[in-house]
């Protein structure tokens, strides 16, 4: 049987044990504190140090697509270790990662790589990588995996309750957030990432209401094939949210992850989120 490996960028938020179990290859994206550029690989920059630094970082950090050279190296290694690669990325519409992957594929072996715009971030992308990896173990061929993922994408949603508008506004990726140039009233937005678009799903002013809004959104979208709870330095909130949603998701493991620093750059601390694959 042909061996297939999954290569995905670090915005997928998959927990280390899953990455290891399925030998998923991660291409790190980068966080920049001014001119200090750190790979989001859990080594140059750990979640711990990142979130400890974030509140006092000045100016705020930015994120960037990885070096093409590094992407080529990781792609080459994956191609040396397998017959075929399924490569998944953050939305091409929101990030330069897809283009870097595209160039890396061109310069390695386009015949042996299936490149897919994941159209999602965090566990919205992570679930696709994991499902692709599971399918390779079940013996599906690359075309079948690609078709399955593309068919599944319209069922994938990510909601994130942000503690403040500030980070997502500065990230420059969300038109409606930058439209509000002077924040006269502090707002906690709940954003909805769906098929490469970031929309404002809800605005609330207290964390209690944000929490409740996530639960309501989840209950309206249930049932799920997969459900993950994400957070940015808010483990207690994540645990409470996971507990509150456990009944929606009895059959599968509910994954709780802390979002990777590159995403933390855009959502800020104390965020809570959901990454789901709705039942088709």
């Amino acid at each position: 049987m042909a061996r297939i490996l999954v290569v995905v960028d670090s915005t997928c938020d998959l927990p280390a044990e899953i990455i290891q179990q399925y030998d998923i290859r991660i291409i790190p994206t980068y966080v920049q504190f001014g001119l200090e550029s750190l790979a989001d690989d859990g080594e140059q920059l750990t979640r711990e140090t990142f979130y400890a630094r974030l509140p006092t970082a000045s100016p705020l950090p930015t994120s960037s697509a990885p070096p093409l050279g590094q992407s080529i190296e990781i792609m080459e290694q994956a191609l040396a270790d397998a017959d075929h690669v399924i490569a998944l990325t953050a939305p091409a519409k929101l990030s330069g990662v897809y283009n870097v992957f595209r160039l890396a594929v061109e310069r390695t072996d386009p015949q042996r790589v299936t490149l897919i715009d994941g159209q999602q971030l965090s566990m919205g992308l992570g679930w696709q990588a994991l499902i692709a990896a599971e399918m390779t173990e079940e013996g599906y061929d690359p075309a079948a995996i690609r078709d399955a993922l593309i068919a599944m994408q319209p069922r994938i949603h990510v909601w994130a309750a942000l503690d403040t508008l500030e980070y997502v506004r500065r990230s420059g990726r969300v038109g409606w957030a930058s439209a509000i140039v002077g924040e006269f009233l502090r707002i906690k937005p709940i954003i909805h990432l769906y098929m490469s678009d970031v929309r404002n799903a809800m605005r609330v002013r207290t964390s209690q209401r944000a929490f409740q809004a996530l639960i309501d959104l989840a209950r309206n979208a249930a049932p799920f094939d997969r459900l993950a709870v994400m957070h940015t330095c808010n483990p207690d909130g994540a645990k409470r949210l996971a507990d509150a949603l456990r009944d929606l998701h009895p059959d599968f493991r509910l994954i709780t992850v802390e979002a990777t620093p590159v995403l933390g750059v855009h959502v800020g601390p104390n965020g809570l989120g959901l990454g789901v694959v709705r039942t088709g």
Binding site: T62, P67, G69, G175, G182, F184
Partner: protein
Amino acid sequence: MAEQTSPDNIQCDGQALLRLAQAGRDWLDRHHATVNQLNVFPVPDGDTGTNMLMTMRNAVKEAAGHESNHIGQVAAHIAHGAMMGSRGNSGTILSQLWQGFAHALKDQPVLTAELLVRALREAADTAYRGVIKPVEGTILTVAREAAEEGEAIYEETQDTILILERVITRAKDALARTPQMLPILQKAGVVDSGGSGLVYIMEGMLRHIRGEVIETTVITTEHTEDLAMTLAPEDEEGYGYDVQFILKGEQPLNVGAIRAAIDEMGWSTVVVGTESVIKVHVHVHDPGRPLSYGVSLGTISDIVVENMQEQFHEYVQERSEKSHVAASHAPLPELNMPDLEEDDIGVVSVASGEGIARVFRQLGATELVMGGQTNNPSTQEILDAIQRVPTRSVIMLPNNKNIILAAEQAARLAHNKRVIVIPTRSMPQGISALLPYDPQGDLENVAEAMLQARENVTTGEITTATRSVELNGVRVSEGQIIGLIDGALAVAGENVNQVLQALLHHMYTGDYELVTLYYGNNVQPDEAEQVVNELREMFSELEFELVPGGQAHYHYIVSVE
């Protein structure tokens, strides 16, 4: 430090190319903050300069680690280093430029005019292939026009330095025209950031050839705040002034000639227009020069002269400010809400006080009617506002119990629109109702969500009693300060701050998280700050937010949620 190089050097070997790349890197290093500042496309996240600099640094580092004097090999090392060090979109494109450039020089020991021209062409072509959808008005345009200029001038001369000079002049010209090609740049009043990064790199090279000094900032600190503050100014004379004006000619104007003349005076030139009217934008050290020049050709108007040194420092400060700036000190910028389509939902809201009006605008209210408790707007005023909204569906927020009837009346009279009145009874209720507003949503659903959200706050109001009365067991004499909870009299006293504290004690149940205080036009900001600080101590588990409401008659309007 500057390295004096005789012009002939660059014609021959790989080490000369390396020195050029170093000079390009250093000049970009000095200007990368400016490039960051220009960043509005494709993603306005202010890191283009940083990403290009990262890429150039690694390119030079890689090439410097090899001893070769063979230009093809050095170029290949530069390209490899750029590829290994590239960050972000602009870095990726820059690495592709180097890759194309190096490919053309492959197997060549020295640079010739012909090779230079070919390398520029291949650089541009490779960069175009490096993006999924090439967009004009970007670094790609600058690279392509540079290549075209190289090819054109090669017909006239084979002097590499002359070619390079002309290429760079054309690159700057292309950069200045990027706003005409990419509307988002025009709107933001900037040239393309990636293109400007490329021009800085090329300019650095040219300065090196001419033996001009390129000092780099040595970065020893991790804090870019400090970095930004220590950044060298535009050149030895400082940042200069940003000058803009509109020129109306008495005689037909020659746009090209004027652009050339203005460009001689400064940098970042943008001159656009027609024979009769021209818009001029230029950065200069002496703002008098372009203005006098303009007057010599016709009449000038809409003159803007800004000190860029100040702007730069303001910008740095703004970028480094933390997120929780007290709203009361925020400047009052124009709100740039997205335009509504006819099928969207619009919102008309009553607002009392300028500050409260701004909050409604921030949250997306399309039209406002000023008014409140003592000056209820008329049905006609509300109807007019509803008619001004460009959408067919309109949600109306009266925000006062005495205005609900007029609002409903206006809704019935607006025959050509579907109007739903959410019976909000206070400003805080209106603000809370507006939170779930989604202009692109379904009218019934949005109205339902807004109706529910209205109930999420309890409203408190502090005002002066206009007559003596006993209500709800509270005795009040005229002129006393009274506190109301959801419109019902709750406390009375002699002192605003005491009544406010008593009111919060009445309202507080333990379930609450956030108190927003809108202070009126009869309260001084520092007084309000002091009050809120006392309240923070008293209710340590609550979060307080102070907003200048600017309302009349009410010292404070309070929302608790």
